[in-house]
C-alpha cells in the first residue's frame, strides 16, 4: 500500500489509489513490472542517464557561479492516464485555451470583460505584462497563444485542478519527446504489449501550426525560425531540439535585422526574409527600439514589421497578461464569460493578497499555505508553508506584508503520487502534469499526455526542475 504520510494528510496514488488494489490503467504495466528483475531496471536507469548526457539533454541552473550543466533526473516508471481520463482532461484544456485566446483578443480590443466588471480594470492597467502597444493589433491568423502549457494537478480519482496557465513560452516539450524516445529504446516490449498513444508528431504539428499563421506578406511556403537567447540559456537544448525536429533555422538576435520591411536572417549568401518566428525570448527583449533598449537578444525594429503584417511572432507579444498569477483566480469567470459554459477543469482556490481580507486570512494561516510571487516562475521565491521552518515563515511574512500585491496564496494541495523506481523498490512521489497545446486557425491540437514532473525527494511537493524535480514518461492509453 502506498499512502503518503506528510503532515498527516493521505495522498491519492495513481497506481494504487487509496488502497492496495492496482488501478486499472496501471494493471498491465504492474504485471510486467512484477515479473521484471529489479537489477535489470536499475541497469536501464543508468543507461538512460548516460544516454541523456551524451545527447546533451541538460539544462543550466541560474544563480550558480559556474554555468553548470545538469541532468533532469528521469524516472523509468511511466505515469499512466486512461483514455477516459484523458478525454475529460483534454476537453477542459481545450475550453481553457480557447477562453485564454478570446480573453487576450478582448483585452487588446474592446475590453468587454472589464466593462462588464468581471475582471477589475486595475488588474490589467497596472500589470507589467499588459502591452498597450498590442491594443487594436490583430495577430496573423487571430492566434495569440500558438503554444501553451496548462499545468494540472490531481488530488483524487476524479479531482483534477488547473494549477497554472503558461501562455508565454512554456518549456519542457523536448523532455516529453525524449522521455518517450528513451522508454522506447529501453523497454520496447512494453510498447508492444500496451497501446500507448504517440507523442512523436508534436514537432510536425508545431511546424504546421506555425506555418498556418503566416503573415500577410508571406510569399509561398512560410519560412519558420526559432529565436533563442543562445547556448547559455537554460532551455537551449530544447530550442535547438525543436528547430532540428522542425527543420527550421535556429536564430539569435544578431542573426536578424530588418531589411526592406521584413525580418531577415543573415545567411552565407545575404539576407533572406523569414515569415514566422517562434521566439523563446520574453516580450521585453524582443525589440530594443520599442522595448528594453539595453537588450541584445532581440531584433531592432521587429515591432514595426509585426504591426505592418511582415512577420508572425509566436506567441504573440502581450500574452503574459493571460498567465499572470493574479489573473489566474479570475479564470473561472473568464471561461464562463467567453464560452458561456462553466469551467470543465476547476481552479485551485486562491487568495489574492492584494485584497485586505484575503491578506489577513493568508497571514493567519501562513504555515499551512503555499504562497507564490505573482510574477514568479520556476518555483523560485515561493513559500511552501508546511515544509518551511519558523524562521523562513517569519521572513516570508515580512516580504508579504511589505508587498501584498506581489503574492497569491493557495491551500497546500494533497498532490497525487506516482511511484518512482528506487533501490528499495517502488516509492510514491508527488507529480504534476503539463500538457502542451497548439493553436492555429485550423483548430487546437493537444499532444496526448504531456510532461509529468515529479518531486524526487520523499514528501516534497515542489516538482520544478530548478528545485531538483525530475520527469517521467507520460502514457495516455488507447481506448
Amino acid at each position: 500500500m502506498l499512502r503518503g504520510k506528510g503532515w498527516g494528510i493521505s495522498f491519492f496514488d495513481e497506481m494504487t489509489g487509496q488502497g492496495s488494489e492496482v488501478r486499472s490503467p496501471y494493471r498491465e504495466y504492474s504485471e510486467w513490472f512484477d515479473r521484471e528483475d529489479a537489477a535489470r531496471i536499475q541497469r536501464k536507469t543508468q543507461q538512460a542517464e548516460a544516454f541523456f548526457r551524451t545527447t546533451g539533454i541538460t539544462f543550466n541552473v541560474y544563480g550558480q557561479d559556474e554555468a553548470d550543466e545538469r541532468l533532469i533526473p528521469f524516472d523509468v516508471v511511466p505515469r499512466i492516464i486512461s483514455a477516459s481520463e484523458w478525454r475529460r482532461l483534454s476537453r477542459g484544456i481545450e475550453q481553457r485555451v480557447r477562453a485564454l485566446n478570446a480573453f487576450l483578443h478582448d483585452i487588446y480590443h474592446r475590453q468587454e470583460i472589464l466593462r462588464a466588471g468581471r475582471v477589475p480594470t486595475e488588474l490589467i492597467s497596472r500589470n507589467e505584462a499588459f502591452l498597450p502597444m498590442m491594443m487594436g493589433m490583430d495577430p496573423p491568423g487571430g492566434v495569440y497563444t500558438h503554444i501553451s502549457g496548462i499545468d494540472i494537478v490531481r488530488t483524487g480519482p476524479n479531482e483534477f485542478y488547473v494549477l497554472e496557465d503558461n501562455a508565454r513560452t512554456p518549456s519542457g516539450v523536448s523532455y516529453m519527446l525524449e522521455n518517450r524516445e528513451t522508454m522506447l529504446q529501453m523497454f520496447p516490449e512494453l510498447f508492444a504489449k500496451i497501446s500507448v498513444r504517440e507523442v512523436s508528431d508534436y514537432p510536425l504539428n508545431l511546424l504546421k501550426s506555425l506555418a498556418a499563421c503566416a503573415p500577410p506578406k508571406c510569399n509561398g511556403t512560410p519560412t519558420v525560425a526559432v529565436l533563442t537567447p543562445g547556448i547559455h540559456n537554460s532551455a537551449y537544448f530544447e530550442h535547438s531540439f525543436l528547430a532540428d525536429q522542425m527543420g527550421a533555422e535556429l536564430v539569435e538576435g544578431h542573426d536578424l535585422r530588418v531589411v526592406e520591411g521584413r525580418v531577415a536572417m543573415r545567411t552565407t549568401q545575404g539576407y533572406t526574409p523569414i515569415d514566422v518566428i517562434y521566439r523563446r525570448v520574453d516580450d521585453d527583449f524582443l525589440d530594443p527600439l520599442n522595448f528594453r533598449p539595453d537588450s541584445m537578444l532581440g531584433v531592432p525594429g521587429i515591432w514595426d514589421v509585426y504591426r505592418a503584417g511582415g512577420i508572425t511572432i509566436a506567441n504573440a507579444p502581450g500574452t503574459g497578461i493571460a498567465d499572470d498569477k493574479a489573473l489566474y483566480s479570475y479564470m473561472p469567470d473568464i471561461i464562463e464569460f467567453y464560452t458561456g459554459e462553466k469551467a470543465l477543469l476547476p481552479n485551485v482556490p486562491t487568495w489574492r493578497c492584494s485584497e485586505p481580507d484575503h491578506l489577513k486570512e493568508v497571514l493567519d494561516r501562513l504555515p499551512e499555505l503555499v504562497v507564490k510571487e505573482v510574477h514568479g516562475s520556476g518555483g523560485y521565491g515561493m513559500l511552501v508553508g508546511p515544509a518551511a521552518s519558523k524562521k523562513e515563515i517569519a521572513a516570508f511574512r515580512r516580504k508579504l506584508e511589505a508587498n501584498p500585491r506581489g503574492y497569491i496564496a493557495q491551500p497546500t494541495l494533497s498532490l497525487s503520487t506516482v511511484p518512482i523506481f528506487t533501490k528499495s523498490g517502488l516509492a510514491p512521489r508527488h507529480v504534476d502534469l503539463r500538457p502542451f497545446v497548439l493553436m492555429s486557425p485550423q483548430g487546437i491540437t493537444i499532444t496526448p499526455g504531456g510532461l509529468t514532473r515529479v518531486a524526487m525527494t520523499k514528501g516534497s511537493l515542489v516538482v520544478n526542475s530548478s528545485q531538483g524535480g525530475g520527469t517521467k514518461d507520460t502514457w495516455v492509453l488507447e481506448d
Binding site: 551524451t54 545527447t55 546533451g56 547556448i231 535556429l250 544578431h254 542573426d255 535585422r257 543573415r266 549568401q269
Partner: protein, 313 residues
Amino acid sequence: MLGKTAGSLYWMARYLERSENNARLIDAGFRIALTRSSTAEAEWRSVLVTAGQNYAFQQTHQDYSSQRVVDFMLRDPANPSSILSVVKQARDNARTARTYLTREVWEAVNTSWMTLGALLKRQVREDDLPDVLAAIRQQSALVRGAFSGTMLRNDGYNFARIGTFLERADNTARILDVKYYLLLPSVAHIGSSIDNVQWETILRSVSAHRAYHWLYGTEISALKIAEFLILYKQMPRSLAFCCEQMNDNLDLLQRTYGEETDAVRMGSSICRDRLSRPIQSIFDGGLHEFITDFLRANAALAQQVERDYRFVE
C-alpha cells in the same frame, strides 16, 4: 544556411584540429625533454611558441619545467588555447550549430568534451601522459570518423573542412617557422648532418616520422624534410595538401552558391603562386621569408572566408 552557423561549423573544425595538433606538439616536446634534459627548457619554450601560447605562459610562469608547461597546455582554464579550453570551444560551437550536425557528430563532440573533462580534471602525472595524449587523439579520431561517415556533403560540410585545413596549414607552417633555422643549409654544412633528435621532433610534431622513412629511406636532409612538409601532396599535413583541400572546398562552395568570392581567388593564388615551385627555389628565396609570407596569406584567407560568407555582421 545562416552565416553564424557556417561560422560555428568552421570554428568547431578549427578547434578540434587545434586540440589534436597541440596534443601532438606536447607529445613531441615530452619525448625530447625526456631524452635531453639539458635542452628541455629550450624545447618547451619552442613548443609554446609554436602553439602560440608562450606569451600567455610567461604572464603566469617563471620557468619552463615539463610539469608546468604540460599542465598549462593541457588543462589550464586561464589558457584559452589549452586542450581543455579548445575542446570546450569546439563543443560550444557544435552546440550553436547543433541543428546542422548529425546526431552522431554531435554525440562524438559532446562525448569527447565529457571524456577529456574527466581525464583532465586533475593534474596529469608524467607516467600517465602518454595515455592521456592517446585518449585525446582517439577522441578526435572518433569525431572525424562520425563527421566523414554521416555528414551531408553540403555547404556546411565545406565550411567545416575549410576550417580544418586552414588550421592545419597554420600549424605545420608554425612548426616550420620555429624550427626553420635547423633546416638552413648553413647549419647542415657546419654540423655535417642536422641533429637527429631535432629533425625527428619536427616529423613527430606532424605524425610523419614513419612516413618520411617510407618515402626517403634513411637519408635525412634539410631539403627533403622541407619538401616533405611543404610541397609533398600525399602528406596530409603538408602545406600543399592543406591548400589543395581548402581550394576543393572553396570551389564546391562557388558551385553551390554560383558566386566567385575573393576567398576563392585568394585560395587559388596561395596554391599557384606559393606552392607550385621546386623546393630549391623556396630555399633560394629564403625559407624564413617563405614561411612568414605563407602564414600571412593563410591568415588573410581565413579573414576573407569569414567576411565573404558572413560569419559575423
